[in-house]
């Protein structure tokens, strides 16, 4: 028992108690062999690989996409010529939500926050002259993932690239769309079906593809705390696993191709603890609950993005310090790849200058800080190990609640659908977001430059320049492609897609046929919305 003092208890950003001093007594129940193990060994608390950054540094993967496919292709080729080894695609809102560029709701957003893709022709342009069997590609798309993945496979096939040689990731995390990012198109149940279609199809035909990037990042940006981010992400992962098991896929056939994606906030030690807890939780869940046997099924690997929502307009250069702290925490937590958000993101999508700073932050961490010289440098700290135990315990409380919503053989699958349907998850996050905002407004949470230490300087930044002409160009191209197609082929492709959906078949074969007939993304999603119903935001706050 800590002695009573008059000082208030210190808490982590997510409200976990932090004591003034930690001692071996705090780890009395921790068994180092059982709870930590060696790096690269079960339960992988210390990292998925034995040598971690001594073997290979994390991948510096800055996401990019804007305007037309041609413009983005030029940027990709520039990045590849300058040493980047992977591509991470950012799609615009119409593409993310499954609407064509000429839809009423798309106005002003075509190519605005990412690249616009309407048909397979755009996908061909996006990857023009990029060797798809050599470069790993990450498709950041969720509810329409089956369409974009279908287009990507179609382009590969046309170029004679064997699907077995494709390496990359599709985000395909449909469930988080109802509480994070919110670029949903369909309801929870049909979108989970589509996610599982991709898992099943790729397991059989595209074996080196990562089929889901189970994401907490967006949940965190939506205002969750670290405990909720950890809990909801792991619960999503369990729902996907159960959905694939229900299809009859053996656990070790698909689990090695699942990966994770987290955000990283300013509370350095809490974030490190979160990453370490995530690995231990997933390893034990996979081994004990789902009876995985392969180590590759148990070891959690993740990408990290520093949080845009922590970036301030006031004194924007301060955001470089915030990005550095968050990136440091991600590296100390053992991330496999990293995106540092641009310091100007409170104003617009990042400028080239801001992306250069983000890459520099990563390079300085890699080569100047010395943090990569030994594996899992935080292990054994009384504080970090206690915090890792505490955040794990707090996350399990949420997961147990979600499980209690569910029933039957797959309680996390049904529980997660129920937790989404009832608004439970969204309301939990909204509550955290509001409490955090009130702490900032009351000054309880200091944000330098915003509620304390304001400076008089009002420096102007050179922001990203968006070309509004590109929306008209994209709409023109879409009209031209629609005019060039065989109406009979389009009609037949859409009616067989509809039939496959009604028969509850895996939709990938029908989607491949449709994209080949130049059916657009919006048309395919309209057909799905027709069968499954369109999801409308419940509007809870």
């Amino acid at each position: 028992m800590a002695e009573k003092t008059n000082k208030p208890t210190k808490r982590s950003l997510s409200g976990l108690e932090v004591k003034p001093v930690y001692t071996p007594d705090d780890l009395a129940d921790t068994d180092f062999a059982r709870d930590l193990g060696q790096p690269g060994e079960f339960p992988f608390t210390r990292g998925p690989y034995p040598n971690m950054y001594l073997g290979r540094l994390w991948t510096r993967r800055q996401i990019a996409g804007f305007g037309t496919a041609q413009a983005t292709n030029e940027r990709y080729r520039f990045l590849l010529e300058h040493g980047q080894t992977g591509i991470s695609t950012d799609f615009d809102h119409p593409t993310l939500t499954g609407y064509d560029s000429d839809h009423e709701l798309a106005e002003g957003e075509v190519g605005r926050l990412g690249v616009a893709i309407d048909s397979v022709r755009d996908m061909e342009d996006l990857f023009l002259d990029i060797p798809l069997d050599k470069v790993s590609v990450s498709l950041t798309i969720n509810h329409p993932a089956i369409v974009l993945m279908g287009m990507f496979l179609s382009v590969s096939e046309k170029r004679g690239v064997d699907w077995k040689s494709l390496r990359g990731t599709v985000q395909n995390d449909s469930l988080k769309e109802f509480h994070g990012q919110k670029t949903f198109a369909l309801g929870p149940s049909p979108s989970l079906k589509l996610t599982t279609d991709i898992v099943e199809f790729c397991t059989n035909h595209v074996p080196n593809w990562y089929t889901i990037s189970i994401s907490g990042y967006h949940t965190r940006e939506s205002g969750s705390d670290a405990i909720q981010e950890l809990a909801f992400t792991i619960a999503q992962g369990m729902a996907y696993v159960e959905s694939a098991l229900e299809r009859g896929l053996p656990i070790d056939s698909f689990a090695p191709r699942l990966s994770f994606f987290f955000g990283c906030h300013n509370d350095v030690f809490e974030e490190v603890a979160k990453f370490r807890a995530a690995r231990r939780m997933w390893a034990r869940i996979m081994k004990d609950r789902y009876k995985a046997q392969k180590h590759e099924s148990m070891r959690l690997r993740f990408h990290t993005q520093t949080l845009g929502s922590t970036l301030m307009r006031q004194d924007p250069q301060n955001n470089i310090a915030r990005g550095t702290l968050q990136a440091l925490a991600a590296v100390l937590g053992g991330t496999q790849s990293l995106h540092v958000s641009g310091f100007d993101e409170a104003f617009d999508i990042p400028s080239e200058e801001a992306m250069r700073m983000s890459l520099a932050t990563q390079l300085i961490l890699s080569h100047e800080s010395g943090v990569t010289n030994t594996v899992d440098p935080m292990a054994g700290s009384y504080f970090i190990e206690s915090m890792t135990n505490d955040i794990e315990e707090a996350a399990w409380e949420y997961i147990s609640k979600i499980e209690a919503f569910g029933e039957g053989l797959y309680p996390l699958k049904s529980g997660m659908l129920q937790a989404i349907d009832t608004g439970y998850i969204e309301l939990e996050i909204a509550r955290s977001a509001y409490e955090y905002q009130l702490k900032i407004e009351s000054g309880d949470q200091v944000v330098v430059g915003l509620n304390q230490y304001q400076s008089a300087s009002n420096q102007k930044l050179e922001l990203f320049e968006f070309d509004p002409e590109e929306e008209e160009w994209q709409k023109g191209r879409l009209a031209e492609i629609r005019g060039r197609r065989s109406p009979a082929d389009v009609k037949s492709a859409l009616s067989s897609l509809k039939q496959a959906a009604l028969d509850d078949k895996n939709l990938m074969p029908s989607v491949l046929k449709a994209v080949g007939a130049l059916v657009t993304e919006g048309e395919i999603l309209d057909t799905m919305r027709d069968v499954y119903g369109e999801h409308v935001d419940p509007g809870v706050f």
Binding site: H93, E109, R112
Partner: protein, 141 residues
Amino acid sequence: MTRPAHVKVLLAKLGLDGHDRGLKVIARAMRDAGFEVVYMGMRVTADQVAQTALQEDVDVVGISILSGAHMRLIPRLTDSLKARQISDDILLLVGGTIPEDDVEDLHNLGVQGVFPVGSFTSTMTKFIIDNISRGRSSPKA
């Protein structure tokens, strides 16, 4: 100015933008400030907002846009409000990822308050109380 007895606020996001954290925080803050909140939420069109504003007879319309499409979508909204002859009765607020250079343009379009990301909800509720042209306690003649 005394505080109006009843303030009715419509909150919405135009277009496909899914970043609704800020709008939900504002909705809670306005509710806690005693305002009546009509939460339209995300994925609505300018015309839907104007029509709802008319039907619900709101005092304030608050729009949140983090997609960068504000200079395309806000003129649509101000036109829709004008077409229904309610633009003079409504306090129009816009928040989100708004570059400095666009703030004056938004004011010129008839947006009374611009609240970029990071703005305090207390600033917004105070702005509403200070600027509202009519409260339900003192209906316009």
